[in-house]
C-alpha cells in the first residue's frame, strides 16, 4: 500500500496513532494520552475515538490484543497497538509535518522564498 495516499491525517487520527506509538493501550488510556500529548487541547470524545479505531482496524493500521491480566472487574480488556503499516503511516505523516514546519520557519524567519 502506498502510505502517501493515506496522508494527510486528521489531527485526531494523528494523535491516536501517536499515542499508540508508545506501546499498546486500551481506549481510556488512549484518551488520556491524546489529552496529555496535546497539552489538553485535543479532548477526544469516546464515540470519536472508537469510530476512528474501527476505521484504523479495518485499514490494518492497528490491531487488537487481549490484555494478559484482566481488570479489577475480572473482564478482559482490549488494547490496541500499531501495526507495521500504522508505524509507516505515522513516520510518513511526521516527515510531512516536519517538511511543512521547516518551510514555515524559513518563511517566517525570512530565510527562504
Amino acid at each position: 500500500m502506498d502510505v502517501q495516499e493515506q496522508l494527510p491525517l486528521t489531527e485526531s487520527t494523528f494523535f491516536i496513532i501517536l499515542s499508540l506509538a508508545g506501546g499498546p493501550r486500551h481506549g481510556y488510556a488512549i484518551l488520556k494520552e491524546v489529552e496529555a500529548l496535546s497539552d489538553g487541547r485535543v479532548a477526544l470524545a469516546t464515540g470519536t475515538l472508537y469510530g476512528a479505531l474501527k476505521r484504523m482496524l479495518e485499514e490494518g493500521w492497528i490491531e487488537r490484543v487481549e490484555e494478559p491480566d484482566p481488570g479489577e472487574d475480572g473482564r478482559e480488556r482490549k488494547t490496541y497497538r500499531l501495526t507495521r503499516l500504522g508505524r509507516r503511516i505515522l513516520d510518513a505523516e511526521t516527515a510531512r509535518l516536519r517538511r511543512l514546519a521547516g518551510l514555515g520557519e524559513l518563511r517566517v524567519e525570512g530565510k527562504g522564498v
Binding site: 481506549g27 481510556y28 470524545a45 469516546t46 464515540g47 470519536t48 472508537y50 469510530g51 474501527k54 482490549k78
Partner: protein
C-alpha cells in the same frame, strides 16, 4: 457510582444502541467502560469538567451513529454485490473512477432533461449541440473500447438508427415493428453478451417505445418529462455505480414504474390542449379507469422486457438440467414472442378492428405474450423431459411471469367498457382472456405436476412441505428485504398522496372548479384529498389548542386522527428499512391500527373513505405488505441463529 453518573451512563448506553448491530457487537462494552471511566474522573473534578464531558461526549454521538450506519450500509451493499456471483458484475474499468462512469452514464439523460425543460424556446443551436455531444460521446466510447457508461448513450444512438429509417416508411405497421422489435432484439443481443450494457441501452428506448406521445395533448407536461429524464439519469448512474445485474434490473423496472406513474398522473390531471371551450380545456375529472388504462398496460409492457431478460437465466439453467443446454428454451421463448408480436402487430395493421385506444391493449398483449411465452417454455421443458427442479428459485420467476399478466385483469376497469367497440374486437378480447387463462393453467399444471408429470408429484409435495418446515423460499424473500421494502414505501407514499378522501362538499360544476386540496370526484361533489386533510388538520389543531375547549378539539381532530392511523405503516416501514431489527412487532401494530381505522371508518360509517384509486392502491399495498412482512418475520425466525446477536 453516584446516581448522576449512573443516569449519565444509562443515557449513553441508550444512544449507543442506535448504532448498527455489528459495531455494537464489537465496541459497545468498550465504549461504555471508557465513557464510565471518563465520566467518573470528570465528576471527581467538579461540575465544570463534568459538564464539559457531557457536551463533548453527547455532541459526538450523532456523528458516530450516522457515520457507522453509513459505513454499515456501504459494507452491506458491498457484501450483496460480492454475493451476486452467478450474475457476475461488469469488470471495473481501469483508469476511471466509478463515480465518473456513473456521471457519464447519467449525462445523456440529463442533457435530454435540460432540452425538454427548454423545449418551448429551444434555439436550434441547442439541438445541434446535443447532436455534436452524441457524436463526440460515440467516438470517445469507441476509443475507450465501449466502456459501461456508453451503454446509456448507445440507447440514443440505437434510437436514432431505427427511428430515422422507420420514419421514412409510409406503411405504419412497419414503424411499429421497428419500434417494438428493434429495442427488444438489440437489448436481448446486448444483454446476452454484456448484461449491464444491455440494460443501460434499452432503458431509454423502452420509455420512448411505450410513451412516445405521452404528452401530445397535455398542456404543461414539460415538468413531468424533465423529472422523468432526471430520474432516468439517476437510474443509469446508479446502475453503473452498483455494477450489479440484479440491482440493474430492479432499478430499470422501478424507473419504468415511476415514469409510468408520473406520466399517467400528469396526463390525467393536466388540462388538455385543444379540448373544451377554450384552448386550455378544463381539468379532467380524476378517474380510476383513465389512470389505470394509461398506466397499467404500457408500464407492464415497459417493465416486462428487463424482467424477461432476467428470466432468461433461470430458464437457461432449468433447460440445462433437462439436458437441453438452454437452446430449446430460448427457441421456444423467441418463437412465442415472435408469434405474439406478429399477432399484435397484425391486429394494429387493421385499424377497422380496433381504434386508437387499443394501442395500450396491444402493448399489454405484447407484455403478457412475452411473459406467457416464458411460462410456456418452462412448461414445455417440464412436460417433455420431466426435468427435476432442484431449486425453488428456478420456479419463482417463471411462476411470477405466468401470473403477472393477470394483474391487469384484476384491476378494476382496465379496458374500455362494452359497447365502445365493435363486436369483433370484443370477441378478440374474450379470446385473449381465454388464451391467457389456458396458458396460465397449462403452466401451473405442468410446473406442479399435472397431466404427464405424475412422476414429479411427490417432489412437488416434498417441496411444498419443505417450504414451511425449513422456510427456504422465505429466506429468498428475506434476502431482498431492502428492495421490496423501498418499493412498498414508495407505493405507500403514492397511495397516501393519491386521491382518497374524507371530506365531501357540494360544488356545482357550473359555479366553480374544485381547487386544491379538493378534487372533483363525481357529479357536483368535491372531495378533499386525505393527505391535505391530515396536514391542515394538524395545523388547525394548533390554533384550536389556544381557542377551543378540549371537547371540540377532540371531535375536530377525529378525522385527522383516523387518517393519521392510515399513515402509520409508512413510518413503521421506514423504521424497518432503517433499523431492520426487532421492528416487526411495531410494524404489525401499525398495520393493525390502520386496519382497525379502516374498519371503524367504513363499517361504522365515521368519515367513510371514498373508493378512489389512492385507497384501492393502499389496500393492494397493505395486502402485499402483510404477506411479505409475515414471510420476512417467519424467515427471520427460521434463520434466527445465523443472525448477529441482538443486544
Amino acid at each position: 457510582m453516584t446516581p448522576v453518573l449512573t443516569l449519565l451512563c444509562a443515557c449513553y448506553s441508550l444512544f449507543i444502541r442506535l448504532c448498527p448491530g455489528p459495531f455494537r457487537a464489537e465496541f459497545e462494552e468498550e465504549l461504555k467502560d471508557t465513557f464510565a471511566q471518563a465520566a467518573a474522573e470528570a465528576a471527581g473534578g467538579g461540575r465544570r469538567p463534568l459538564l464539559r464531558l457531557i457536551v463533548v461526549e453527547f455532541s459526538a454521538l450523532p456523528v458516530l451513529i450516522i457515520s457507522q450506519w453509513w459505513s454499515h450500509v456501504r459494507q452491506k451493499e458491498q457484501t450483496m454485490n460480492d454475493a451476486r456471483l452467478e450474475l457476475s458484475p461488469e469488470p471495473a474499468r481501469a483508469g476511471r473512477s466509478r463515480w465518473t462512469d456513473a456521471l457519464l452514464a447519467a449525462l445523456p439523460h440529463f442533457l435530454l432533461g435540460a432540452l425538454t425543460a427548454l423545449s418551448s424556446s429551444t434555439p436550434s443551436w441547442v439541438n445541434y449541440g446535443l447532436l455534436i455531444t452524441m457524436v463526440a460521446a460515440f467516438f470517445l466510447a469507441w476509443r475507450k473500447s465501449w466502456p459501461l457508461w456508453s451503454g446509456s448513450w448507445a440507447g440514443y444512438w440505437l434510437l436514432f438508427a431505427y427511428v430515422w429509417p422507420g420514419s421514412l416508411l409510409p406503411w405504419r405497421p412497419a414503424l411499429d415493428y421497428l419500434l417494438i422489435l428493434a429495442p427488444l432484439a438489440i437489448g436481448l443481443f446486448l444483454f446476452l453478451r454484456r448484461p449491464l450494457y444491455g440494460l443501460l441501452a434499452v432503458v431509454a428506448p423502452l420509455l420512448f417505445m411505450t410513451r412516445l406521445f405521452a404528452f401530445e395533448l397535455a398542456a404543461g407536461g414539460e415538468w413531468a418529462w424533465s423529472s422523468i429524464w432526471l430520474l432516468l439519469g439517476v437510474t443509469a448512474g446508479a446502475i453503473v455505480w452498483l455494477g450489479s445485474v440484479r440491482a440493474g434490473v430492479v432499478l430499470t423496472v422501478a424507473f419504468q414504474f415511476a415514469a409510468g406513474l408520473i406520466i399517467s398522473v400528469a396526463r390525467s390531471y393536466l388540462p388538455y390542449r385543444g379540448l373544451g371551450p377554450t384552448d386550455m380545456g378544463p381539468r379532467p375529472t380524476p378517474d380510476l379507469a383513465t389512470l389505470v388504462n394509461d398506466f397499467a398496460p404500457l408500464t407492464l409492457a415497459a417493465i416486462t422486457l428487463p424482467l424477461a431478460l432476467l428470466l432468461l437465466r433461470p430458464l437457461g439453467r432449468l433447460a440445462g438440467r433437462a439436458g437441453l443446454g438452454g437452446r430449446r428454451s430460448h427457441k421456444v421463448l423467441l418463437l412465442g414472442t415472435a408469434v405474439t408480436l406478429g399477432g399484435v402487430l397484425a391486429l394494429r395493421a387493421r385499424p377497422d378492428l380496433v381504434d386508437a385506444t387499443s394501442g395500450a391493449l396491444a402493448a399489454a398483449a405484447v407484455a403478457a405474450g412475452l411473459l406467457l411465452s416464458l411460462g410456456a417454455a418452462v412448461a414445455l421443458i417440464r412436460a417433455t423431459r420431466l426435468a427435476p427442479i432442484a431449486s425453488w428459485r428456478d420456479l419463482l420467476l417463471p411462476l411470477l411471469a405466468a401470473f403477472a399478466p393477470l394483474v391487469v385483469f384484476a384491476l378494476p376497469h382496465p379496458f374500455p367498457t362494452a359497447g365502445q367497440y365493435s363486436g369483433s374486437f370484443q370477441v378478440q378480447v374474450t379470446l385473449s382472456y381465454a388464451g391467457v387463462l389456458a396458458w396460465t393453467l397449462l403452466t401451473i399444471l405442468t410446473l406442479v405436476g399435472g397431466p404427464g408429470n405424475q412422476a414429479q408429484k411427490p417432489l412437488w409435495k416434498r417441496r411444498l412441505r419443505g417450504l414451511w418446515s425449513r422456510g427456504k423460499s422465505l429466506t429468498e424473500v428475506n434476502r431482498y428485504q431492502p428492495f421490496w421494502r423501498i418499493a412498498l414505501l414508495i407505493l405507500l407514499v403514492v397511495a397516501a398522496v393519491g386521491p382518497w378522501t374524507g371530506d365531501r362538499i357540494h360544488v356545482p360544476a357550473e359555479y366553480d372548479d374544485c381547487s386544491p386540496p379538493y378534487i372533483r370526484t363525481e357529479g357536483d361533489m368535491c372531495d378533499m384529498i386525505g393527505v391535505f386533510g391530515l396536514i391542515s388538520g394538524f395545523l388547525r389543531a394548533a390554533g384550536w389548542l389556544v381557542t377551543d375547549p378540549p371537547a371540540d378539539l377532540l371531535s375536530s381532530l377525529f378525522f385527522t386522527g383516523i387518517y393519521f392511523l392510515y399513515m402509520l405503516p409508512i413510518f413503521s416501514t421506514l423504521l424497518l428499512l432503517l433499523l431492520a431489527e426487532r421492528q416487526h412487532k411495531l410494524n404489525f401494530l401499525a398495520w393493525s391500527l390502520a386496519i382497525i381505522a379502516f374498519i371503524f371508518s367504513s363499517v361504522i360509517g365515521a368519515f367513510p373513505p371514498s373508493w378512489m384509486w389512492g385507497l384501492r392502491l393502499y389496500i393492494g399495498v397493505a395486502i402485499g405488505a402483510l404477506i411479505l412482512e409475515l414471510s420476512a418475520f417467519v424467515a427471520d425466525k427460521h434463520s434466527g441463529p445465523a443472525l448477529a446477536p441482538e443486544r
